[in-house]
Structure formats: structure tokens, C-alpha cells
Symmetry: C2
Subunit: 345 residues, 2 copies
DNA sequence: CTGTTAGCGCATTCAG
DNA sequence: CTGAATGCGCTAACAG
């Protein structure tokens, strides 16, 4: 509450001027003798410099606003872990705001943060609208996006289309000709549009007879589970969930029906969540390193803040994690050796 | 970066004094006529009051420090969701610091936050040491703990011992006489000591012949998976993981060995994570409402800040979630009807 | 190398 | 009801 001891008292106790103490605190020319006196005085008083007074002068808050769509998701957790991993060592701290998956709230949060005097804002967006672009350009602090893309603003994200293509190419390689894509609304440009398009393109790519059905679900287990019947009705040889959660929900339904995976039907997903390795059979997936995305984003932000040149369009690496849930239709299915917890470590 | 327009310019444009503008902004006596002029001037200039100057005067930051052991965990995510849900409406924002599961880093973060001038600190602790108690008492801002308990400091947490007892009583009711508890280090008072003790007490509770073996694992899937062989060697009728993740890791191992659950062995856990409902068979567990814990903690903090009376020792409700992974040894095993995704909704 | 002098932008006395 | 004056605690010229 009350910040009792100030720089002034330290100065008096040490028998020097306030400026000398300030110099000691910062980058100062100060004789070793006085240096010692000041040090002692600070220790004795337990002095701590007042954050706000300091910021009022320096015009720097060392605070980065972070706007998240929600908190209780693995993805967001990883992202945050990455962000704080590079922000903290640089002396920055994060202020957190949650948008409850609402674009309106997201904008509100950004405005709020701008007003709070943070040095920059990182937004894990649910969708970058014209309003976002406007607000980004009008403000005088850098705003960096992730999760979604828009060429009018700086962003860092995984290449959803490439991820889709990776999966499409793999399933094709495995001899699948008919897939059903259990995806999300097209409102979500990243997951609902790009990822799906990449998949379809690579899966079909000039093959006659290759077919991809589509079933729309939400992002959570339950919603996917509820659509599973529709998904199975497509009679495809493989089910591709737009996220691992979707695949897991469908997998659950398949288990309940006593259908064997991958012998009778294959399942694959996107995300590389750890749980995908512990379900049985373990889920084949395209893994994203969200922690790395967080780190890159934070680094990008630091560059922006320091007016350093930034490397645009960073490529986020994707890992294909081949586990047990997809059958190779081209050659005999080679049974995974038990005892190895594939891809978990 | 640069906060161009200040209260002074607004005042000039409106033809009033700075103080009048300040009054307008806060709680001020101001004539309706000037009120309008000031409003217009603010709108025209796009004025935003300087956060730091304001805080320097008022001695309130409206910032709450939040210290977390890690970011990438479902538990932490839920907790944060709950916290921000009550903090935001109250006009507070959270500053986030991560301790990387280190007690030393945790203390460092607390000190850091104290210095930053936050109004209060919420700590999801890995263990409350004497040092924590000291630092809490010396500082002049409230520090509230969760995750662990210590009667010398304020805390809000779930009742781990009660959770353990709940599970012990249930398994006993199901006719189990020999359990193996796959738990974590006793360093963790909450999970490693209290939860286990509660379980053992209720499971045995004056029964002759009831037996509980113990195998130590880490918190993650993989570590549990690696200890699974030891766990199975106990030949117990039920495996109880100290957390759902532990149970899931062991479940995976059991699946790989082709052992049927719950026909041949039962498995149960603690936490109530959503994934427990999508694995097959769905995991019976004691569910904690971490979001509620977060909300309670935040409310407690608000009370502390306002010097309002606080309700000590809040009881966090526990939910027993009976799903499919535990066999009732007393009566015939009643097959779960397929088609209902138990406990997920 | 060091003390003195000015503000940073705002809220708040204090006289009107 | 309102303006002028003061200072929150600190940093950054400025002359020594």
C-alpha cells in the first residue's frame, strides 16, 4: 500500500543528494566511497524505488499487454509459457486480459491496454477485423497478433495451410482415397479455412477419385462426439479432425461402438497435444510448437520495441507425429511394438 | 510510447483549468455547462489519462500480481480463468509471473511484484516455506496463497485430504480391499501428503485386511507410464493415481498390455480433467473446480484489499465423478450403456 | 564525479 | 463551483 521510504530519505541517510542515489540505482558515475554509503543506506532502510514515479519519468512501463481468447486451453498455456520465457529475461512483465472468445471483448481489451500505458500488446486473436487493423494503426504502441493472420498488421503464427497439406500428403501416401474432415466454422480463418484447404488440396492434388467430405463441429470434445455419427456416415477410410480435441471426441464415439482403430477406420488430428499420445491407439497428428510460437512472438515484440529490424513472416516449424491411429492401406499394416509410448517423450 | 495529449491541453481547449478537467474525470463538482465543454474537448483530442501519473498520486495500481508454478497446465488455466473472472469486473488487472516449479523463483517473483507496486499478490504455490511466511508478513500488501496451505498465511484451496477420503470411501464401498496409490513426492504437502493420507485413512478405516501399496511417480503422463510396471506388480484390484494425468499414463500402459479395465483391474484418479471423460473407459475421478478456487481466491483478495471481513477457511466443493473405470466388486458389474459420454457435459 | 534545478501528468489542497 | 498552487518520487539535464 504505502511506499514509505523514498529516494530522498536514502540520500539523507547516506549524506548525499537524491541524484547521486538515482545514479547509483541506474547507470551512474559515482565514487566507490559514496557508492558504499548509498548501498548501506538502501539496505538499512529497505528502500524500493517507486515503480510509478519511475515510469512517469522514463515513459516506459516494461509491461506488455497480453490478450487471450480464453485461459483454460493447453494451446494458450503453451503460448504463454513461451512468451514469458523470453519476456521475463528482458525485464518485461505481462498483463493478462481474457476475451472470452469474443471479438468485441478483444477489441475492448486492446483499447484498455493502450490506455494503461503498456509498452506493447500481444493479441492471440479469434479473428482480425478491420477494426483491429484500424486500432493497431492509430495507436502509438506496437500490437502484434498471433493465432490469426492479416497482412495489414504484424503477426506470428503457424502455417495452417502447410499443416493441412502435410496431413493431406501423408494420408495420400498411406493409400487413403476417401477422407472426412471434421472441421470448425469458416469464421475461423486459420483453422476453419486455411487448414482445411491445405488438407483438401494436398489430399486430392490431381488424383481422380479422391474425395473429402466435410462435417462441421465445435472445438471441444463433446461437440465433436455429438457429430461423430454424421462423420461415420460418410464411410470414409479416415477421419481427420481439425484439432486433436475433435479427433479425440470422435475416437471416443468410435470406441463405444466397438469399431477398431486403425483396422476398421483411421483417425488423425492437428495439434500434437500430449493426451494424443496416451489415448489408445495413440493419435497420429501434425504437432505445433505453440511454446515456440510464443517465444517468437515475444522476440518479435522486443524487436518492435527496440526499433530493431524484424524478420517478417517467420516460419513456424511443423512436426508430423506418426503414431498408431492411421492405417497404411498400401502395404500390410505393421503393428507398433508395444512398450514404447510413441511420441510422448 | 509517447502519451501526447495531457490533461493540460484538454483544459486549454475547453477553456477551463486543469483541476476542472481532473474533477470531471473523477468525482467532481462541475457545472453542467463546463462539463459539456470538457467532454467535447476530451473527445476531440482523444485524451487518455496517464496511468502512471495517476497511480503516482493515488497510490493504487489496480494491479494484482499472480505467481504461477507453470503455465502449460489445465489446472492453472482454470484457476486463471476464475481469477480474471472476478478481478476484471472489479477494475483490477493481473500481472503474470511464472516460477518454473521452483520455490526459489517463486520467492523472487513475489519480491519482484512487491517492488512493482502491485496492490496485492496471488500465489499458486509449490510449497509455502518459512521464507514465504516471513516475506508475507514483512511486506505491506496482502499476499494470498493457493495450491498449498500454511496456517500462518491466508490461503484458499481445495481440501486434498477430503478428496482422498472421498475416493477411499468409494473404493471401499465398491468392495476393493487392496489398492495401489501411485502418488507424488511428499515434498508436495497438498498432493503428496494430504491427499494420500486421506485416501489411506478412509480406505482402511478399521478394516482388517485392507491394504494400500505406494509407488512414487512424477506429475506427468510419461513418468507415470514408466512406473506402471511397478504399479501392476502390486497385484492390487485398483490403481489410484494421485492426479488424473498419472492415472492416464498408467491406463495407457495397461491398454498396451491388453489388460481390460475395469474387468481385470480398476483405475481411478483425482482432478476431473475433461480428457478423463474421452479416454476409454472413461476415468472415475474426484473432480475439483479450480475455476471456482480462482474465483474464491480473487474474491478473498478483493476483501483483503478493501479491508472487508473475510470468511476464513473456505470449503471448496468436491465432486465425485463416477464413470467407467472402476469395477464394483460387491455386485455384478453393470455395463455402462454406450452412447452416453459420461460426465463430459 | 556530484549537488541543484526542473519537470513527468495528475489529484488535491486552498482560497476565492 | 473553480482556478492557482503544491507535490507524489523519480530521472535528467545543468553547472559546477
Amino acid at each position: 500500500m504505502d511506499q514509505k521510504v523514498t529516494i530522498k530519505e536514502v540520500a539523507e541517510l547516506a549524506g548525499v543528494s537524491k541524484s547521486t542515489v538515482s545514479r547509483y540505482l541506474n547507470h551512474g558515475y559515482i565514487s566507490t566511497e559514496k557508492q558504499e554509503r548509498v548501498r548501506a543506506a538502501i539496505e538499512q532502510t529497505g528502500f524500493q524505488s517507486n515503480f510509478f514515479a519511475k515510469r512517469l519519468k522514463t515513459k516506459e512501463s516494461k509491461l506488455i499487454g497480453i490478450v487471450l481468447p480464453r485461459m483454460d486451453s493447453v494451446t494458450v498455456g503453451k503460448l504463454l509459457a513461451g512468451i514469458s520465457r523470453v519476456l521475463e529475461p528482458a525485464g518485461y512483465q505481462g498483463i493478462l486480459l481474457v476475451s472470452q472468445l469474443s471479438g468485441r471483448k478483444e477489441l475492448e481489451n486492446i483499447r484498455n491496454l493502450q490506455q494503461q500505458g503498456v509498452d506493447g500488446i500481444l493479441v492471440d486473436s479469434v479473428g482480425i477485423t478491420e477494426e483491429h487493423v484500424k486500432i493497431s494503426q492509430e495507436g502509438n504502441i506496437p500490437i502484434l497478433y498471433t493465432g490469426q493472420k492479416n497482412d495489414k498488421v504484424p503477426f506470428v503464427k503457424i502455417d495452417d495451410e502447410a499443416a493441412g497439406r502435410m496431413m493431406g500428403a501423408y494420408l495420400r501416401e498411406m493409400g487413403h482415397k476417401h477422407a472426412v474432415f471434421a472441421g470448425v466454422t469458416e469464421q475461423d480463418t486459420a483453422v476453419g479455412v486455411d487448414r482445411k484447404r491445405g488438407f483438401i488440396d494436398a489430399f486430392k492434388a490431381g488424383r481422380f477419385g479422391a474425395k473429402v467430405d466435410f462435417v462441421e463441429t465445435g472445438f471441444d470434445f463433446l461437440s465433436a462426439y455429438n457429430q461423430a455419427e454424421d462423420v461415420l456416415r460418410c464411410k470414409a477410410s479416415v477421419v481427420v479432425g481439425a484439432t486433436d480435441n475433435i479427433s479425440l471426441g470422435i475416437l471416443r464415439y468410435i470406441h463405444e461402438r466397438g469399431i477398431r482403430v486403425p483396422e476398421e477406420i483411421s483417425v488423425a488430428g492437428f495439434g500434437g497435444y500430449e493426451v494424443g499420445a496416451v489415448v489408445y491407439p495413440a493419435l497420429t497428428t501434425v504437432a505445433f510448437d505453440y511454446e515456440l510460437v510464443g517465444m517468437k512472438a515475444a522476440q518479435y515484440m522486443l524487436n518492435l520495441l527496440r526499433d530493431e529490424p524484424v524478420q517478417e513472416n517467420m516460419e513456424m516449424p511443423l512436426f508430423f507425429v506418426e503414431r498408431e491411429s492411421v492405417r497404411n492401406l498400401k502395404r500390410d499394416y505393421e503393428k507398433e511394438k508395444p512398450g514404447s509410448m510413441n511420441g510422448l517423450a
